[in-house]
Symmetry: C2
């Protein structure tokens, strides 16, 4: 025992590389949450002195950039069928799946000040699917914005936030809500009835909601495309 690479103590880790640092950080964030990811903590997890990380990563921002690069790079790129709506749908659902797998990824991705190469590649391939389907450059441009844009100025999955089950929060959800927010209560009740499995939350099927919104947008785009929509002479937007 006490030999430098003995079997008793903490195992001697393989030599560090950028990839090992990034994957270590991803695993750390998956397990402990992104808010508790620190350079010092990650170094300890990797069995390394904190400053050793700075050989592979210029600073914490670069670490976060790299983590996003790995996650976005892993988005499945299925073979296209040539039908743009199907192919776009498939690609976006693949991205959705990858990001769902790492709960911290969306917030980190949105906090990046500029896009990473993998992000640009993904966007470019998606753009290419629209153009290959015969959509105009003009329409494709605005569709890309539509897909990237959060509605209302803010955008997160609004009913997904599981409130802490402290007393006040439960009161708000169960008692105060129906009185003070009757409209929200009505749709929450209907959703809970449709899926009685969840007792306190509204019991929404996140995947259904995601696909509903995606299809609504893609169908709307299809309509505009068929009408030869152009930003120069907008026909309102879709119907009028």
């Amino acid at each position: 025992m006490r030999t430098p690479s003995g079997a008793g103590g903490p195992a001697r880790r393989a030599t560090l590389s950028r990839d090992r640092v990034l994957r270590g950080a991803i695993a750390y964030a998956d397990v402990n949450g992104i808010e508790s990811l620190s350079m010092r903590g990650l170094a300890q997890e990797l069995g390394v002195v904190p400053m050793a990380l700075y050989k592979h990563v210029v600073n914490k921002e670069d670490l976060l950039d790299g983590m996003i690069e790995v996650v976005v790079g892993e988005i499945d790129q299925a073979q296209g069928t040539g039908q743009w709506k199907h192919d776009v749908r498939q690609r976006i659902l693949a991205a959705h799946k990858s990001l769902l797998f790492h709960p911290w990824a969306r917030a980190v991705l949105e906090s990046r000040s500029s896009m990473t190469p993998a992000m640009l590649d993904y966007l470019d391939s998606l753009t290419g699917l629209f153009l290959a389907g015969g959509l105009s450059v003009d329409l494709t441009h605005h569709v890309m914005h539509t897909l990237g844009n959060r509605m209302w100025g803010f955008s997160q999955e609004l009913f997904a936030a599981t409130p802490k089950s402290d007393t006040e929060s439960l009161n708000t959800q169960r008692n105060a809500l129906p009185r003070q927010r009757p409209h929200l209560a009505e749709i929450a009740k209907a959703a809970a009835h449709a899926d009685p499995s969840s007792t306190v939350g509204p019991g929404c099927d996140d995947q259904f909601e995601f696909e509903f919104a995606l299809d609504l947008i893609l169908d709307g785009v299809d309509t505009l495309h068929a009408r030869h929509w152009s930003s120069a002479r907008p026909t309102t937007t879709a119907s009028d």
Copy 2:
């Protein structure tokens, strides 16, 4: 000079209140950015010892909650016209405007673990507009999700990120992009042609893009409503 409340030194501030703390924090974040908002820095800005803040705010999370509460509470609630599509559009554009005014607000709002009363009130009033317009509870439910949902699993205004103008970044934008990301380059070129004012960015009209996406969704909803769409028997989603 040196009198406790003299005219020479830093002016004696009015007594602290939760409102003064929250508005001080908002002003601080507007000027210095949310990332440099600290309890200690805010206290100094308010001419107060750090621990004094904890009389009005339970911790930093509560401070952030309160800031969001103020911003969301300031969303303009125009008088409704009775036409649901118009009224919803107006309310959402008002929210968009309020959040644009505080660049940090979207990220902070999305980072909240549960909704604040003002957020719930806003959502309830929006839900009420759909229901008053005759949309089914079912459709209204999914529409609320659609508006709240970011497309693709991630969602920020994708082309809004103004990259730092360091050399590498400019290279990426100007030279590498057309070669490596031809599709993105094509729509960027078209957009720059339409609006030659911005030299490096794609020159997109953010407000136009926001309204395009909003109208696309609202028009799609209108179509589903006219077809008596129900999640029990979805007609695909819209057209087929």
